[in-house]
């Protein structure tokens, strides 16, 4: 079955076989492996994407139901030449350990800052509560994002 949708601003067409997830299609068909596959049950947040404006876990989105949707993956956030502010503060604060969870954190944090450039510390924690870092490197992630939230306020 052919599914047409927008990914990172570009019209894309995927050939979907069955009930597979958006995550599977992004990684295996559309050559966008930034969204990571870990728990496959919406618990870990490493596959987070923005779907029609909402932050969701792409492992729980049925790809066949994405017809006409707009998806932003981590590949659509910042560029190699110009990092997104969230990416820059994570770099500056050494907020990456093994790096596997980082794409999910970047997407979740970028989504938060798009809605509110100056979230409180609690709001940052709440917004990232669906993203798990198994290196437990939360301290640096939070310090980086708290610094970003304080900028220009």
């Amino acid at each position: 079955m052919i599914v047409s949708f927008k990914v990172n601003g570009e019209d894309r067409v995927a050939n979907v076989a069955g009930a597979e997830s958006l995550l599977t299609v992004l990684r295996e068909e559309l050559e966008l492996p930034g969204s990571k596959n870990a728990c496959e049950q919406g618990e870990c947040g490493s596959c987070s994407v923005i779907l029609d404006g909402a932050l969701v876990t792409s492992c729980l989105v049925m790809a066949a139901d994405c017809e006409g949707s707009e998806v932003t993956t981590v590949e659509g956030i910042g560029s190699e030449r110009e990092l997104h502010a969230v990416q820059q503060v994570l770099l500056d604060h050494g907020a990456v350990q093994c790096g596997f969870c980082t794409p999910g954190f970047v997407v979740a944090a970028a989504h938060l800052f798009e809605q509110d450039p100056h979230p409180s510390n609690d709001e940052i924690k709440e917004a990232l509560s669906g993203n798990i870092c198994r290196c437990t490197g939360y301290g640096a992630i939070l310090r980086g994002l708290e610094a970003l939230a304080g900028e220009g306020s």
Partner: protein, 268 residues
């Protein structure tokens, strides 16, 4: 696999009538876990998220397609409270109250609130139109409901007399992102009578009618009555021991939780 993506309710009901075996897909937070782990292999999916009629919140009526993220802003205090405890922000942005009702897990976070509110579940089919089923007739067992194969859940209908004074809480193995071992909702109306509903302690959500009766007779309960209230709740529920908890713990926790919520209502 075939997918039907109706944009209105009539088209969804037609698809359901044509293929009563089709799987219904709302937020995907239940169905896709089954798919990812190989427990479900849908042949035909009817995707519901484009149906505007079920995505509305109206006076006394919550559309089945309304997400937890939206219900976090509900004027019903306990509904907002429980919506904030469902999964993570990502899950709350996708998961719907209709999905919670349709899955009918004993641990469904929305179900104790619906039980305390005396909600009706509005369902529709092409052949028989719309019918409203009291929550207690809708939930028939563990992940079992009285939804017919040609029907679709349309809304939760909330009566006007739902008390404003209402509280929800749940217990799990940690404080976030966890499936409840016990969930409870208590509502207290202006006359001092209370409604006590519990989840995860029986195959379906349940009301603790004897405990409610006790408070009806003692609307300003003493410490001794509160203790009896907790004991009565613990006796009324019928939990099991499973990988998440034990029968004894769930019984005890149900009483503690219900009493705690009652005390919060009494302090209002």
């Amino acid at each position: 696999m075939e997918i039907t993506r109706p944009t209105n309710l009539a088209a969804a009901l037609e698809a359901r009538a044509d293929d009563p075996g089709a799987d219904l897909l709302a937020g995907g937070t239940d169905l896709m876990v089954e798919v990812n782990f190989g427990y479900a292999r849908p042949e035909h999916v009817i995707a519901l998220r484009r149906i505007e009629e079920i995505n509305r919140i109206e006076n006394g009526r919550i559309g089945a397609g309304v997400t937890w993220a939206r219900l976090e802003e509900s004027p019903h205090r306990a509904l907002a409270q429980l919506s904030r405890t469902v999964g993570s922000p990502q899950i709350r942005a996708a998961g719907t109250i209709g999905g919670n009702i349709g899955t009918a897990s004993p641990a469904g976070d929305g179900l104790p609130w619906l039980a305390a509110a005396n909600a009706e579940i509005e369902v529709a089919s092409q052949a028989r139109g719309t019918r409203r089923v009291p929550w207690s007739d809708f939930f028939t067992g563990v992940k079992r409901t009285s939804l017919e194969p040609d029907e679709v859940i349309v809304a939760a209908v909330v009566p006007d007399d739902v008390p404003e004074n209402q509280e929800f809480a749940k217990i799990g193995q940690r404080s976030a992102m966890v499936i409840s071992t016990v969930a409870a909702c208590v509502m207290r109306d202006g006359n001092g009578s209370v409604r006590v509903a519990l989840g995860s302690v029986a195959p379906t959500p349940v009301r603790a009618h004897q405990a409610e009766q006790l408070i009806a007779e003692n609307p300003e309960p003493s410490e001794a009555v509160l203790e009896e209230f907790a004991r009565t709740v613990a006796e009324e529920v019928s939990p099991i021991t499973d990988h998440r908890s034990t029968e004894a713990y769930r019984r005890h926790a149900a009483g503690v939780l219900a009493r705690r919520l009652l005390e919060r209502c009494l302090a209002q």
